[in-house]
Symmetry: C2
Subunit: 334 residues, 2 copies
């Protein structure tokens, strides 16, 4: 059986051979600080623009993941990557640094799990031997693209989140490594009519609930089967909504659910609802979570990153926010 | 053998079950006019904004392709789609109209071939039974996002192209249909330093040459093996550069090469170098080309759409234009 419902089952359990994360200075003060490979002292990373700094973080995370897997550029068959910037310039320009093929993705903040789902499919089917999956974001580039120029010094409403400065990447391979991707649930677009661009958690929670519950159904699992049900960047408010939505349908995930955005910052109160951005789940997964899994501390993790598929144009035209969540199930296999 | 070099070989030859195209009024005056399913009399398509019109074209092309394949929404396992707008809002909002999963892609004007390459992989490996691949673009939404407000009435330089108003979609399936995808070559990012955003053909030609020549090498083919070597939107100038670049390396593709951008408009001179945009190759492939293949008039087609992975921000920051081309090989199998 290779598929049931929206879930793809991998016959050959593609492995996470290696992983790496590069995080910003603010991010390094929190839980992931001692797990990330590089913690920047300066978020400009020696570059002249925020966008170039974001690209360099992503490129570095990709290089590090390949190196940590004991591989060379020539061993990689394909890079699957995307990011939040218009025309995913971070990923496209990072791909310029490498000689292997590039498949560009866009799934907003659920890009990490989308890349893992597609990468695992390529490796599982023998279409690629080694595939790199990566994404990232930068507070300053996201802020000026999606919201206001930083120089304007706008205040943020209490339901807002803080875009994470960070990038993460991993290498999927047919063998090696102690963590396998055993299946993945493809997300559907969910739009319950939220139009508040400062409240992404509320907009994205229904998409996370939809994918997580479909995952339970397709795989015959229940919340207690997982050590961790890890969402991407719902934040504190969005996580509460997710727990409510799943509880209403008979699934109590409260004991196992953790949101990357909720745990990434040292003092979440200063960031209102917590972290967000494609780099949020990418940096938490590729540092703290995979290190713990590698040590056998988590045996089974459902990673469901969430994305809000809006643009400044769609919101300006009065549209609500379509959201999506792709999930992959990770298993420790010693 | 499932892969050699950058080329994936499909064991089960996924079929193109059905296809559909919706094109703008100007586009319908040319060669594809009598092959497209819907030719719009008004490019606003009854919507209030250009972006909403673009989204509706894409959604309609998807629905039509499903219907023409004798399928229902419930038969589709996944939609692979993307477009040129920031955060691919056309694809994401079109996906809201359907109940099946959505995998968002971004590869600029090579999105059609990237979606077919990944869709064919999913179908070939048994991960999806029916996958829809689709993309599109709209002259007016692209113009105001990438260039100038239409109201400004800017003149265009002679090396410019005209973004196609059109969308195309197709259904890939394990069986049915007379056209198979037998392999696909994943593109690498090529950047030879072109910075002129009005000369996309020159920027993209090296990426097309790279992918097409790798395809010949990986598959052991030569130009004469194909009835058609079809590029996406190089335009007249870009096509000439592609022919030169491949000729220099010992491949004479001049007898078999056709560029969608070069043939789409009735009088190419009025559009300078011809058509461009994700909708260019999508609408030409999903109307004229696949109809001719379906009738057995073309037996073997190499479809290599090309994408320029720039953004207004990257160009504003002085960056050159990274480009890519993904290719799929189509075969008539009666």
């Amino acid at each position: 059986m290779t598929r049931k419902g929206n879930t793809i089952f991998f016959k050959n359990s593609p492995r996470i051979l290696s992983y790496a994360a590069v995080v910003g200075s603010k991010e390094s003060e929190g839980i992931i600080g001692s797990y990330a490979d590089i913690a920047l002292a300066d978020d400009m990373y020696g570059e002249s623009t925020y966008e170039k700094a974001e690209c360099k973080m992503l490129s570095t995370a990709i290089s590090l993941a390949i190196e940590k897997g004991g591989l060379k550029q020539g061993d990689i068959d394909v890079l699957l990557s995307g990011d939040l910037l218009n025309q995913i310039i971070s990923a496209s320009f990072a791909a310029r640094d490498f000689d292997f093929p590039f498949l560009g993705l866009y799934s907003a903040c659920s890009t990490m799990s989308e890349s893992m789902l597609l990468g695992a499919t390529l490796v599982d089917g023998g279409y690629a031997k080694n595939a790199v999956c990566a994404t990232g974001s930068h507070f300053a580039s996201a802020e000026r693209q999606y919201r206001y120029p930083l120089e304007l010094g706008c205040t943020r409403p209490p339901q807002a989140q803080w875009t994470v400065t960070g990038a993460g990447g991993l290498v999927l391979s047919r063998k090696g490594g102690r963590i396998a991707i055993i299946n993945g649930t493809m997300g559907r677009v969910c739009d319950l009519g939220v139009t508040d661009v400062n409240n992404m958690g509320a907009a994205m929670a229904p998409a996370a609930a939809d994918t997580i519950m479909r995952h339970f159904k397709d795989t015959g699992t229940e919340p207690g089967d997982f050590d961790l049900i890890l969402t991407g960047d719902l934040g504190a408010l969005g996580s509460r909504i997710l727990k409510d939505l799943t509880w209403e349908k008979g699934f109590d995930i409260s004991a196992n659910h953790v949101d990357c955005g909720e745990i990434i910052y040292k003092v979440i109160e200063s960031e209102f609802q917590g972290g967000s951005g494609a780099g949020c789940s990418a940096s938490v997964l590729n540092s703290y979570v995979l290190t713990k899994m590698d040590a056998g501390l988590y045996k089974r993790v459902l990673f469901a990153a969430t994305g809000a598929l809006l643009s400044t144009v769609s919101s300006g035209q009065g549209e609500s926010i379509p959201c999506i969540s792709h999930a992959v199930e990770l298993e420790y296999c010693g």
